[in-house]
């Protein structure tokens, strides 16, 4: 369960940062990304997948959340 810091970049895309791994990636897709539901599976541009427990509102970015790693993506 790594802690992931999430923020929006200038283009409005979600940027993923995992401090422990110095991993900085842009999210390609998010399973739920509407004003009243956010979370689920997130696919990063390097192919790895993470999972966030869905919440009922958009988080207030930037924010640190816990994520589950779904596959190694290597």
């Amino acid at each position: 369960m790594p802690s992931v810091m999430l923020k929006k970049n200038a283009e409005g895309k979600l940027v993923f940062y995992v401090p422990k791994k110095d991993l900085e990636e842009v999210a390609e897709s998010i399973e739920f990304d509407t004003p009243d539901k956010w979370g689920g599976e997130v696919l990063l541009s390097d192919g790895s997948k993470y999972y966030f427990d869905p919440v009922n509102a958009q988080p207030d970015f930037p924010v640190t959340l816990r994520a589950k790693r779904l596959d190694s993506g290597e």
Binding site: M5, P19, K21, D22, L23, P62, V63, T64
Partner: protein
């Protein structure tokens, strides 16, 4: 000598790796790479921030060096106690040349060494009592100090002293910030973790001090300069440019910085990060907690300076944007003259770099402004994200080396035959004795500043002075001065 092709560079790496025993070879192979600009991510080609191999000569420092030497040390109005035996602090005292304004020993303490000077009995019975006593001694002898930080050396973690408790108690008694930093040297693989630990200590013990206090008058143009250690006056040369374009620099972290500036940083509108490696952590924290955006910038060489000034200005209104253009125009005649003077003398010269965590990529632009080419670069303690940022800056098929060993660096240099090497004091004399011009790129070889337009003029002069120094002609023995000499040197490796 012509540039190496991708295959040649790969062959060179293989050749250099040959001498290692199998295990070491496998490990070191991961840290050496041929640059490929088409890659988006460095982890496909290079591994970094790993433990150095036992038995090789590494140039790295320890976590204490990262915290005391880099992040905390330059905060001039605090007293930083090197907590533990005397050596760690004394042998690194005042070595980093972070300039500051003030009267040393009265209201500033940058070049002094404060230590708890551990003896056997402190190891056996613990040093907390001694530490508490030191706080009061400091208050008595140096009443104008604005706070104290406790920089742990190795033994503190080993004997399990509770420096946090001592700090809390002292904080109440002397009524100034007292910051315990758990930066024992054995933590992590290099000084890099020390930077991180120091950032975390700032986060936990300093940044919140003025939360809820709005007495500090702010402006829409407040910024903080983060990760500029004012080596040879770098931060000053940077600060003038920012101020000239209309911004107000509220804080300098940490070169010529004060604890009050740090405490006020959460009030700024934008954090400007120069050394990403050592201070991105705190910038990210402030972004999350105080919603302060941050950007990286680069003040080495006119091309990168103009790029950075415009990038910074784009985040403000038209006055600042116009200010940025004005600054660039104002200095144009000056830096054009520098280029006109030195470029003909330096054109086409090839440089190899090996520095800490930022400069291996940040100074490339400054060399290119002078018509020079960086053909190899590497970090002592860079991480993946540093190499990500390096790939695009370096030419294709150039060498990239992480935590390079003394042996590898020498062999690379013998084969690549650069015209100039930029690295640290530990490398300097080896390469000078090999007859290769050398500049220290940590301490600017006791020169500087190199940041900003003013710094660029000094940078260009220094590179010329070193490279075109007539002494290099005297270093080579007469029978090796013809064209075959390079081959002969290489073969004797």
């Amino acid at each position: 000598m012509a540039a190496l092709t991708k295959e040649e560079t790969e062959a060179l790496i293989q050749e250099v790796l040959e001498v290692y025993p199998e295990q070491a070879r496998k490990d070191r192979a991961k840290h050496l790479a041929v640059n490929d600009q088409s890659l988006e991510k460095s982890n496909k080609c290079i591994t970094s921030n790993r433990k150095s191999q036992p038995g090789v000569m590494t140039i790295r420092g320890c976590a204490y060096a990262g915290s005391k030497g880099v992040v905390w040390g330059p905060i001039k109005d605090m007293i930083h106690i090197s907590h533990g035996p005397v050596g760690c602090g004394q042998y690194s005292r005042a070595g980093r040349r972070n300039y500051y304004v003030g009267t040393t020993g009265v209201n500033t303490f940058g070049t002094m060494n404060f230590t708890s000077d551990f003896q056997e009995k402190d190891i056996v019975f613990g040093g907390d009592k001694k530490l508490a006593k030191i706080m009061h001694e400091i208050e008595e002898l140096f009443p104008l100090n604005k706070g104290i930080s406790i920089q742990s050396e190795c033994p503190i973690g080993l004997i399990g002293d509770d420096i946090e408790a001592v700090a809390k108690k002292a904080n109440k008694e002397i009524n100034k910030p007292v910051v315990p930093v758990r930066c024992e040297g054995f933590r992590g693989v290099s000084q890099s973790l020390g930077h991180h630990i120091a950032n975390d200590a700032i986060r936990d013990w300093v940044l919140e001090n003025r939360d809820g206090d709005d007495t500090f008058p702010t402006t829409p143009y407040d910024v903080a300069v983060i990760g500029d250690y004012n080596i040879g006056g770098d931060a000053w040369a940077s600060r003038t440019l920012l101020e000239e374009m209309g911004l107000r620099v509220v804080a300098q972290w940490s070169g010529d910085g004060t604890i009050a500036e740090m405490e006020k940083t959460p009030k700024v509108k934008l954090n400007l990060i120069h050394c990403y490696r050592s201070m991105n952590y705190i910038a990210r924290h402030m972004e999350e907690k105080y919603k302060i955006p941050w950007i990286e910038y680069n003040f080495f060489g006119p091309t990168k300076i103009a790029e950075s000034l415009r990038k910074i200005a784009a985040l403000f209104d038209e006055t600042i944007q116009a200010g940025a253009e004005k600054v660039i125009a104002k200095y144009q005649a000056e830096y054009d003259a520098v280029i006109a003077k030195y470029k003909p003398r330096l054109q086409g010269k090839r440089v190899m770099l090996y520095v800490g965590g930022l400069r291996p990529r940040h100074v490339i632009g400054a060399y290119e402004d002078l018509g020079m080419e960086v053909v190899g670069t590497g970090y002592e303690f860079g991480h993946n994200d540093d190499y990500d940022r390096t790939i695009k800056e370096m030419g294709n098929a150039t060498l990239i080396y992480d935590d390079v060993t003394g042996y590898e660096f020498e062999e690379f240099v013998k084969k690549v035959q650069p015209d100039l090497i930029g690295s640290g004091i530990k490398e300097k004399y080896i390469f000078q004795k090999m007859g290769i011009p050398f500049r220290q790129m940590h301490s600017w070889d006791y020169s500087g500043p190199y940041h900003g337009y003013d710094g660029f003029a000094i940078f260009a002069r220094d590179m010329d002075m070193t490279l075109n120094n007539p002494c290099w002609k005297q270093v080579k023995v007469p029978w090796k001065t013809d064209g075959s000499s390079k081959v002969a040197v290489a073969a004797s490796a």
